[in-house]
């Protein structure tokens, strides 16, 4: 069976929540990541939906990732807790052509932490995604500004993406998934199945994704 020729290990479930203002491209990011497709025909998300994807990291760990796409209007935030429950990581999205969507990251993050209530909010795995970089001419949020904000929030990893052109989408998801998996204790993951080192353990992440 492909991907399963090496030592078996327990599969880790990761619940990833995608947050951000409406229209920043959350649904597009999810579809691009999970299906590798982009459409101009996505509808505004009502409530929440999720898609699943198997992810294999470069070190051989395998995760079953559920990406939760949520409605973007803050009006629906109070629903959050129902959908955020059990979240392992969170992708905060904004649109580099929309300053407001960047400014709102703060409240998305705060609200998320309040509703999820992780044990250690400071180290909860976030990733920030500045989407729509294919529209370079319309950019209003500079990379520097975004990175400064991320640095100030405890060095959140920052990615500039284009869901349309499939730039950096995989990398952003993979990073936040890996960070989420790192939060699981090693004992948790490996206690049952001592894990031999894979010969290709030094592969780049980009080569390691299994779908």
């Amino acid at each position: 069976m492909y991907n399963r020729n090496y030592s078996p290990r327990r599969l880790v479930y990761i619940k990833a929540i995608i947050l951000g203002d409406s229209g920043v491209g959350k649904t597009s990011l999810m579809h691009q990541y999970v299906r590798g497709t982009f459409s101009t025909q996505y509808k505004a998300t009502i409530g929440a939906d999720f898609m699943k994807k198997d992810v294999e990291l470069s070190d051989g760990r395998v995760a079953d990732v559920a990406c939760w796409d949520t409605a973007g209007q803050e009006r629906f935030q109070s629903l959050g807790v129902a959908f955020y429950r059990g979240a392992d990581c969170c992708m905060l999205c904004f649109d580099v052509t929309n300053a407001r969507s960047f400014e709102n990251l703060e409240s998305w993050r705060d609200e998320f932490l309040i509703q999820v209530g992780p044990r250690d909010p400071e180290s909860f795995p976030f990733v920030v995604v500045g989407n729509k970089i294919d529209m370079e001419g319309k950019r209003v949020v500079s990379q520097k500004r975004a990175m400064e904000w991320c640095a100030a929030k405890g060095n959140i990893p920052y990615f500039e993406t284009s869901a349309k052109k499939d730039i950096n989408v995989e990398e952003a998801f993979k990073t936040v998934v890996r960070n989420a998996m790192d939060q699981e204790s090693d004992a948790d993951i490996y206690s049952d199945f001592p894990d031999p080192i894979r010969i290709d353990a030094d592969d780049q992440d980009s080569q390691a994704c299994a779908c």
Partner: protein
């Protein structure tokens, strides 16, 4: 694995290159129902055949041809080859087999040939489709991108990347429609089969970078590779160990390509056979084709089979259903510890697949209904029978099949009780009928053109059949309350005029206010409205991008990140912006409203009228959009209560799944199923809901009916809130509206009946009528789960009650399992309350023994009918509580 091993005859190359005419090619492999999607719209999917052919030049070609382009003869050939791809190996005289040859006209255009067969009459409509047809030399394929079916993608796809850098449109393998799969000729995903076939013509290697990518490494010699022993038959695609051994160590006598190039072809075949399709899906497909009937019928047997499938450790449980060769495969996977997650996927897969049966059932019911309608009133007795087979039988199954006792099951109706017939069987309201409402019965004049019929009969007519398209603009104004029911022609004109004037004033107030346009609120909301409008129902011609405001969508997306606009969409934006400021004090614009606006706009296509109709609609929908979401909480809470009353087993299952907060219905309810039905059906659904005929919360019963339809599948297959949510949301566009509406009506009667019985009994025992509705409130607060409702008195008591009953001496073996039901004669039609009778109809229950032996204990068989009035439940029966919200649904006056 069924089927015999491959016949190892090894025909000569010449068998394959006999081409009788220049325009003929030999069809070697074909697979039907391979779709190209022209757009996201399901109607834009083109079914076709993917095939591998051998051209007159001995080259191999891969081709895709739309079904519509095939002549009858060619289609037969395609199907024949599909069902028996290696028949030539068996026949011994392949050149005489007509079925293998199809005519293809060669258009030597850069090496590609376009499949175009016999002359087609409707060429113009076909030409658009023909653009998707292709026929390329296999050697021109540089790589394949293969996405096998997965949890999130029901169908798998294959994309061909060509050597010239171009890519062909994804081909989606709808195996569940494809003849070879349906007939059990093959058990493998079509994409895998294609890959295996291609691997015999060219060397293919799986990409190291991208596991979905298969690189083509140049042609093999065509001559020997396609010998029968190397072609995968249906029975060999998943190799048995012996076959695998044969492949890697071919006998010297077999001069196959495998012998010459064993590595590539073997690797790729093994990979395609076992790796590409998710092993889980693989197994489930095995299950699917192998025991199709057993799983698809929603019967008791299937339920038992399916639930045992779930309830025990998954890996082991599936084994009995899997053919031996696969069984070993399953165990190996289990040992690897990787199956657990896959079986979670299996549950959704199985559930969806079981749901397919429900969808078919809906259509069958609908067809039967229309046949009966066509047959006229004389078919009444047939109609009667059809009711027994149709939704009603499902109804009764909910009750009679339930094995254990829930709070409400003790008061279930008699199995044969005569429920009110759903009235939702009439044709849509026609103009003639409509104007009939304005005609005085005595033939007098009606100079003011006031509606003379009472509004109830109008609403009933709309409830029963909807409204004909032409009549919607007029009828909707009444339904939405824009026109008072008794208004005159002049008053209607005045209303239209006043409303139009008022609209333009409202619109002008924000449009011409320069300060406002700089405000943060304006910028934010206009941006939000624009984004939402530009992604609302864009697949409809009405909302397509036009040349004035739009242009090319691709260009627009590149430039602005949004598709283009149109005159209609600009009007929609203005309407929503006007609504935002009109309503700003309370709601303003909220996401989802654009979905609510589009159907209304489509009917009026006029700014002021649409605005007021929308505003009227929003009056009843506003609670859904409140900032604190209390309106939706109330909907979901009430929904949960209704499920508990209508189907306690389902409710308990949802509780066990941690899904009893009913969030799975959130999208359904928030925008009234806008995303679940096609546009035309939404118009029909909404006008029915607007009638408020049985209740103004009829939408909840529509949701309830759909859940009921799928209750068995949900209970059998789904076990987590995520699975329930996914399953329920994925029902989108599979629900039969008429079936749902009829079911909703019946749910309403059923629940009302049960509520009345309980409330009457509570009253007589001096218990409060309504419970505090907070006890089963879906939990929106952090930290607490929805388990709270499991501690509701009704459930505990029901459990205790059940225990008590099973402790009683039983006169037959089945009594331990069978729960005594207390049944009521259905007397709704006489406007009287129900009366208690002993259950005489449940066949599994020995009712005589029951009444003789147990009634003293339970004091059930005491149906004193002195006043013909309804009996209340006996004191031994613990009464569930009826929540305030449910109580109020039925508390208001009702008509029938």
């Amino acid at each position: 694995m069924g089927g015999g091993p491959v016949e190892a005859t090894s025909p000569e190359f010449s068998d394959y290159c006999i081409v009788s005419e220049v325009a003929s090619v030999r069809l070697l492999y074909s697979k039907s129902k391979v779709y190209v999607y022209r757009s996201a719209d399901k109607r834009e999917r083109i079914a076709g055949f993917i095939c591998i052919v051998q051209g007159p030049d001995d080259q191999y070609y891969i081709a895709w041809t739309p079904e519509a382009l095939l002549s009858e003869h060619d289609r037969e050939s395609y199907v024949q080859v599909e069902l028996c791809p290696n028949f030539s190996g068996h026949s011994g005289a392949p050149d005489t087999t007509d079925g293998a040859q199809v005519s293809i006209s060669m258009l030597s255009d850069e090496g590609s040939i376009l499949v175009s067969t016999e002359p087609l009459s409707h060429a113009s409509s076909i030409s658009a489709i023909a653009n998707y047809a292709f026929c390329k030399p296999v050697g021109d394929v540089s790589s394949l991108l293969i996405h096998p079916p997965s949890l999130t993608q029901w169908y798998g796809s294959v994309i061909l990347n060509m050597a010239d850098g171009s890519s062909l449109a994804p081909m989606w393998f709808h195996d569940d429609e494809s003849a070879s799969t349906l007939l059990g000729m093959t058990r493998h995903w079509g994409g895998d089969e294609l890959l295996v076939w291609l691997a015999h013509a060219v060397s293919i290697e799986r990409s190291l970078d991208d596991p979905n990518r298969y690189e083509v490494r140049g042609s093999k010699s065509p001559h020997i590779i396609l010998s029968a022993s190397a072609t995968p038959s249906a029975s060999t695609v998943l190799p048995t160990p012996q076959q695998r051994a044969v492949r890697s160590e071919p006998p010297a006598s077999a001069q196959t390509a495998d012998a010459r190039q064993p590595r590539h072809s073997t690797d790729i075949i093994d990979s395609a056979m076992s790796g590409n399709m998710d092993p889980l899906i693989h197994q489930v497909k095995e299950l699917r084709w192998g025991i199709l009937e057993r799983f698809s019928r929603i019967t008791r047997t299937v339920k038992d089979a399916a639930s045992s499938f779930i309830e025990t450790p998954v890996g082991r449980q599936v084994a009995p259903y899997i053919p031996p060769s696969l069984g070993g495969f399953g165990h190996a996977q289990s040992a690897a510890g990787s199956l657990v997650k896959e079986y979670e996927g299996a549950r959704i897969y199985l559930a969806k697949w079981a749901a397919q049966h429900i969808i078919d059932q809906q259509h069958e019911d609908g067809e039967r209904e229309s046949r009966l309608a066509a047959a006229g009133p004389g078919a009444a007795s047939d109609r009667r029978r059809s009711r027994d087979l149709g939704p009603t039988s499902i109804w009764e199954e909910w009750i009679t099949e339930n094995g254990d006792l829930g709070a409400f099951e003790v008061i279930t109706t008699n199995r044969t009780a005569d429920l009110p017939q759903p009235i939702r069987t009439r044709p849509p309201l026609s103009a003639e009928q409509w104007f009939g409402f304005f005609e005085p019965a005595d033939g007098a004049k009606n100079p003011e053109l006031r509606m003379l019929a009472d509004s109830d009969s109008v609403r009933k007519a709309v409830f029963a059949g909807g409204v004909e398209e032409d009549m919607r603009p007029m009828v909707w104004k009444y339904l939405l309350g824009i026109y008072p029911w008794g208004c005159s022609e002049q008053e209607r004109k005045d209303i239209d005029k006043e409303r139009a004037d008022e609209y333009w004033v409202l619109k002008d107030s924000w449009l011409s206010d320069p300060d406002l346009k700089d405000s943060e609120d304006f910028v934010e909301q206009s941006g939000r409205i624009e984004k939402d409008v530009l992604r609302t129902d864009r697949t409809l011609p009405l909302f397509a991008t036009d040349s004035v405001y739009g242009g090319d969508d691709e260009v627009n997306v590149t430039a602005h990140g949004l598709p283009g606009s149109s005159a209609c969409l600009e009007q929609m934006k203005d309407i929503l912006m006007t609504f935002h400021y009109y309503d700003k004090a309370s709601l303003g614009y909220v996401q989802g409203m654009s979905d609510l606006l589009a159907p209304i706009y489509s009917v009026y296509q006029d700014e002021p009228t649409t605005f007021w109709a929308f505003t009227a609609f929003m009056k009843r929908m506003r609670s859904h959009f409140l900032r604190d979401q209390t309106g939706m909480q109330d909907e979901l809470t009430t929904m949960a209560h209704l499920v508990e009353i209508a189907n306690p087993q389902l409710f308990r299952h949802l509780e066990a799944c941690d899904a009893s907060n009913m969030f799975c219905c959130y999208r359904w309810l928030l925008i009234w199923f806008k995303r679940e039905f096609g546009f035309e059906n939404i118009l029909r659904l909404w006008e029915v809901l607007w009638t408020d005929y049985l209740t103004d919360r009829f939408v909840l019963f529509v949701a309830l009916a759909i859940l009921q339809r799928h209750a068995d599948v949900i209970m059998d297959h789904l076990r987590s809130p995520e699975e329930v949510l996914k399953y329920v949301q994925d029902l989108s566009e599979t629900i039969d509206l008429n079936d749902a509406l009829k079911g909703a009506e019946m749910c309403f009667y059923k629940v009302r009946y049960r509520v009345r019985v309980v409330e009457k009994s509570r009253k007589e025992r001096g218990l409060p009528l309504a419970a505090c509705s907070s006890s089963t409130s879906p939990d929106l607060s952090a930290g607490s789960s929805s388990n709270s409702s499991s501690s509701e008195p009704g459930n505990i008591d029901a459990g205790a009650n059940a225990n008590q009953m099973t402790e009683l001496p039983s006169s037959d073996a089945s009594a331990d399992r069978e729960v005594p039901l207390i049944s009521f004669e259905w007397e709704e039609s006489h406007q009287s309350s129900p009366s208690v009778v002993g259950d005489k109809t449940s066949p599994a229950l020995n009712s005589d023994a029951f009444s003789a032996d147990r009634s003293p204990d339970l004091a059930l068989s005491n149906p004193s009918k002195e006043d013909g009035e309804a009996k209340t439940l006996d004191a031994a029966v613990v009464l569930p509580e009826i929540s305030e919200s449910v109580h109020s649904i039925f508390a208001r006056g009702y008509k029938l």
